[in-house]
């Protein structure tokens, strides 16, 4: 997307001029850097995935060699076990609730903060921004006691609600400048056509803000998926554990079975990676808007 716009912006003749330019000396450096990047990022991940196909004896003898033979038992066992799917489902449900809450409430608030003028607007925005500074883990103690009082312990909502609340600051901080960029003329036109402000919000502003919305949704989803301490404290029944808890638990419970742990870890990475690849097209666009604001 950006390539095309850059080319167009540069004017008619530039395209051919660019093509004839000689290869810059930076190009091999670029490819080398890319290679190192791939290596550093991928190799640890590969290790986890590939060694899940080994038996423990194979791992003990050599962690770097390829499996010989490839043992599918570890992955098979985990894929057929509720000990994997249940936490996966729990994580997904909680992350979905938290994400929906954060995006809906955050978009509404960002809309109000970006396109209405009222006394205390900037102060309110600052209030939300201040929330960025308080780590959710530092709030674990009072949160735990509060959740207990309102009866949300050992409940998915007991995790999803705080996650959504702590996700509001970054959401609003990203969405507000994005929404502000949308030209006032569009709004005026909508009003002239008889739409209400809310109608404008729902039918024009939100669709236009899609890159930013996807960005904040991905961030919220990742943050929620990531949570370890809060679920650890809130959940007492193993059946409600989320995936990071399950991974850490699995690691201590089956510690002698390194191959199994690797398989479990590998499988638990797939959902996060999958969602990310799915949404990544919009990510850079979303950040661009936020950065400009």
């Amino acid at each position: 997307m950006s390539d095309v716009s850059t080319i167009l912006a540069a004017g008619p003749g530039t395209q051919s001029r660019r093509r004839r330019r000689r290869v810059s000396p930076l190009t091999p450096v670029t490819y080398l850097t890319a290679l190192v990047l791939v290596g550093v990022t991928v190799v640890p991940l590969l290790f986890v995935f590939v060694d899940g196909f080994k038996s423990n004896a194979q791992i003990n003898s050599s962690a770097t060699a390829l499996p010989h033979p490839w043992v599918t038992g570890n992955y098979a066992q985990i894929l057929t076990s509720a000990a994997f799917w249940q936490p996966l489902e729990n994580s997904a449900v909680i992350a979905a609730i938290a994400t929906v809450l954060v995006v809906v409430l955050g978009a509404m608030a960002a809309f109000a903060l970006s396109r209405y003028a009222f006394r205390g607007r900037e102060g309110l925005f600052l209030l939300f921004a201040v929330g960025l500074l308080f780590p959710i883990n530092a709030a674990a103690l009072p949160l735990y006691l509060m959740l207990d009082k309102i009866g949300l312990l050992d409940s998915p909502l007991g995790v999803a609600l705080p996650e959504a609340a702590f996700g509001l600051p970054i959401t609003i901080v990203i969405l507000r400048p994005f929404m502000r960029e949308i030209p006032g003329e569009l709004e005026d036109a909508a009003v002239v056509d008889g739409a209400t402000r809310i109608g404008f919000f729902l039918r024009i502003l939100l669709p236009l803000s899609r890159p930013a919305l996807v960005t904040v949704a991905v961030l919220a989803f990742v943050q929620s998926w990531n949570q370890y301490l809060i679920p650890l404290l809130v959940f007492t029944s193993q059946g409600r554990f989320t995936l990071p808890l399950a991974v850490a638990n699995f690691q201590t419970q089956y510690a002698q079975n390194t191959a199994s742990i690797l398989a479990f870890t590998a499988l638990s990475m797939l959902p996060a990676l999958g969602c990310f690849i799915f949404a990544q097209r919009h990510l850079v666009g979303g950040f661009t808007g936020a950065v400009k604001g």
Binding site: D148, L157, G158, L161, L232, Q238
Partner: protein, 429 residues
Amino acid sequence: MRSLRKPAVVAVAATAALALAACGSSGGGSTNSATGKVTLTWWTNATAGQLKTVWQQAATAFHATHPNVTIQVEPLQNEAFTTKVPPALASSNPPDIYQQWGGGQEATQIPSGKVADLSKLSSGWIAEVGSAAQAWQVNGKQYGVPYDLHTVGFWYRKDLFARAGITTPPATLAQLMTDDTKLKAAHIVPIAVGSKDKWPDAFWWEYFALRECPTATLKAAMKGVNLSASCFVQAGKQLTAFMATKPFQPGFLGTPSQVGAGSSAGMVANGKAAMELQGDWDPGVMAPLTSDKNLNSELGWFPFPAIAGGAGSPTTTLGGGDGFSCTTPAAEPACAQFLQYIDSTPVQKKVVAANVGLPANPAAAPALSLPALKQVLTYNHAAPYVQTYFDIAFPTSVGQALDAAIATYFAGQGTPQSIITTVSQAKNQ
């Protein structure tokens, strides 16, 4: 209580209540008063190995004889107990049955108001357990019930000793140091220690203290929660001298004690180290960490050696036990009945068979199969005094501070004196 908070909490509750509709919360014992059916959640530290099976069987068997009671076993990693139990006891929904180690630790939990006083409900059968039950009493009231007892001593590999030319286990510290030299000459790691978890370090310091301090001093120190007697500093100095001989495995600061083949237990189980100073649960912990079927025949036990010139008794033993408590929301008498069932001879025999320690109920003692454990039992009975691990005997915050100070000292960053100072600071906080 916290009247300042009420309006705020109500406001939050109002917000949350709207969304609360769909999801309910489970957790602690839910009693359906109409049918009288009861579910008790049960936190144990048996996440692997035979004991895990034993507990599951016990829960199932109890349900068979008490159809209205369902026990839900929730294994929790040993090291997670310290993080999860305190907030659970502060909440309104603690687990119905949970594992705790008696002594000062239990005493610290009593003020939560959540630990049930089982004196009446256990009076009929607690005598079975004998004097061991006292460690779970606070002010004469029975707040918990032990299910096994422990003694700390050296677990060693007979095959590795033989390889190094050691014919009999050491009886004095000097002999231990000689044996370490022999083992190193045979390229065997003499002693494994799980320093990452901190409490294994404490075993070392505490045993040196037991050998340096007379029994009366020890008792006074526990009662007064202070380690100001000079013998404690002396113990630290002796330990420093011992550690200067580098008896432990490389990287011991990062080695966990029970988790994984790379733990100190795993090292001994797989023949990578010759001995470990640990409780008598070690065989049960080692078994799942290795594929060696002959492990039990290779394992031997010997008590902590005597230290020449030490003012303490050479046969004082460091020990403790595991037990369970019921929390006040738990349905009674179901919970107490289950604890009685755990201490009954048939279940105790199974616990013993899992090689996790000595039975709380002496009637199950004959079921000890591992010769080494029989040896431990005999030694335990003959010991003039059994000192509970300091971090359990002390109130929890002091005990934790002590473990942390000893661990720091093991890492080369503290002094024998700093251990003492930390305890008095923690006590006064």
